[in-house]
């Protein structure tokens, strides 16, 4: 069993186009959610989201790449470039042959689908661009990362809705821990803020029209976000030998399935994943100071998640901090766990715990320290990152300070 550390991080999301901008926004409790700018927004009843603003593909990609990359692939490559540059790794020879890329994603190229459905259904055209399939397939992002960085080892995409990124990172972690790969590029991305993507979510009637307020008694639903988070997971000795800067240690994980309901979360399923991650990481409940919550801002998730944490941690639940950064960047669906892992890294490395913003009223069913509205300084030795997906698929990661 090898130790696994994070030696690079990259992101683009509603809070920033890189990690420093994103962490600064999280420290300041800034909200990246606002009116969305997409075609036909006036026909949507939900008109807000955590949209990436000011993103210009020109300059980042050449003309042929732009024609071939859906927005979710573009986000992924931006984040991967930042992460791999920070790690200072170049992949060649044996390292390239063994290292791979496992990313989480749920919807694939939704913008590509949306635009081409419009073209054939609405505009009545009978011909679509030849790149529709290579753009929309949800492994496109992982494949383009593998091509840009010469990663020839195990590479694929994991889809488990809102837990996709955590499942992907758990998979990458296992590969490095077992010795199968010295380095894995992992994380996830999503770009579902297009007409069809938002319209589909409207149908479920779990979306807020004004704000994401996790754990607050007046919460009224989730808000979609978009973007990517990508990390370099590296075997500890490999990182030490080359003098790499280590951001945090990935200490363990657990996955569970509720086997109960396609949308309603189960406390038992969440508990088994949280307790399993502690056990896998050989952590005692008292070691954990911070949990990055799944915290969607829906009635069902937030109370179920708090009850699960309270049960697993017992008396220690009153001493730990649990916050939902979705209040700031929105719910990135298949990419959400990746962007949220940044909050765990900030807590462990910088000693700053990101807040849950928009917290207005205590809810007796969410009676934990949710770090309301203002970031907090604290020495955090270990942190968990929760993800509980539709379909009852749960994945929790455990990280340690190094």
């Amino acid at each position: 069993m090898h130790r696994v550390v994070i030696t690079g991080a990259g992101t683009i999301n509603a809070l920033g186009h890189n990690v420093p901008e994103t962490l600064e926004a999280m420290r300041e409790g800034r909200c990246g959610i606002g009116p969305i700018d997409i075609p036909d927004v006036d026909r949507l009843s939900i008109q807000i989201g955590g949209q990436v603003k000011g993103f210009e593909a020109e300059g980042l990609f050449n003309r042929q790449q732009i024609a071939l990359y859906d927005r979710f692939t573009q986000f992924t490559l931006v984040a991967a470039r930042e992460a791999i540059a920070q790690a200072g790794l170049e992949f060649s020879g044996d390292l390239a042959a063994k290292s791979g890329v496992v990313l989480g994603n749920s919807g694939g190229g939704m913008t590509t689908l949306d635009e081409n459905y419009r073209s054939v259904y609405e505009a009545g055209k009978n011909r679509v661009h030849p790149f529709v399939v290579p753009k929309l397939m949800n492994n496109a992002a992982a494949s383009h990362v593998s091509m840009e960085f010469n990663l020839k080892g195990p590479s694929f995409t994991v889809a488990s809705a809102c837990a996709s990124s955590n499942h992907a990172m758990a998979q990458a972690f296992q590969m490095v821990r077992s010795g199968m790969a010295p380095v894995m590029i992992t994380g996830g991305s999503e770009s579902m803020l297009c007409f069809g993507g938002v319209k589909a979510w409207e149908g479920l009637r779990v979306m807020s029209k004004d704000a994401c307020r996790p754990f607050s008694a007046n919460r009224n639903g989730m808000v979609q976000g978009e973007g990517a988070g990508v990390f370099v997971f590296e075997e500890y000795d490999h990182a030490r030998r080359r003098g790499a800067e280590i951001l945090a240690e990935v200490a363990g994980f657990a996955m569970s399935s509720d086997a109960a309901d396609i949308v309603m979360p189960s406390k038992q399923g969440a508990e088994r994943a949280i307790a399993g991650a502690l056990k896998d990481a050989r952590l005692n409940p008292t070691d954990v100071c911070y949990i990055n919550a799944h915290g969607t801002g829906t009635a069902a998730n937030d109370k179920t998640e708090c009850a699960a944490v309270a049960d697993v941690f017992g008396a220690q639940a009153d001493h730990l901090m649990i916050s939902s950064t979705k209040s700031m960047h929105g719910h990135l669906i298949g990419g959400t766990g990746a962007v949220e892992l940044l909050a765990c890294i900030m807590a462990l490395r910088d000693g700053v715990v990101a807040p849950t913003i928009n917290y207005d009223e205590p809810d007796p069913e969410c009676a934990l320290d949710v770090v309301p509205n203002v970031a907090r300084e604290a020495k955090v030795e270990a942190a968990l990152s929760n993800a509980f997906a539709f379909g009852g698929l749960n994945a929790v990661l455990a990280l340690k300070r190094i």
């Binding site: 003309r63 042929q64 024609a67 030849p130 290579p134």
Partner: protein, 86 residues
Amino acid sequence: MDIKEQVIAIIAEQAVLEPSDVSPDSTLEDLGIDSLGLVESIFAIEEAFDISVPFNANAPEESDFDISSVASIIRGIETLIAEQKD
């Protein structure tokens, strides 16, 4: 622009070259156009001339459309335009 000039312009754009650098004798390989670039060029040609090109990327040699050189592509398109005019 006549048909020849239009086709050359489409192929040049795909190859990231000036139209003056694309000669009728060039093959797509000479111009650095790969299989995906070829399919994209055919799409652009279909859109530009509102025709349907009988090209199967799965078996290019069996297609009733000669892509061995720029000149053969232009000839094929001229024929298709004449056939599909009405």
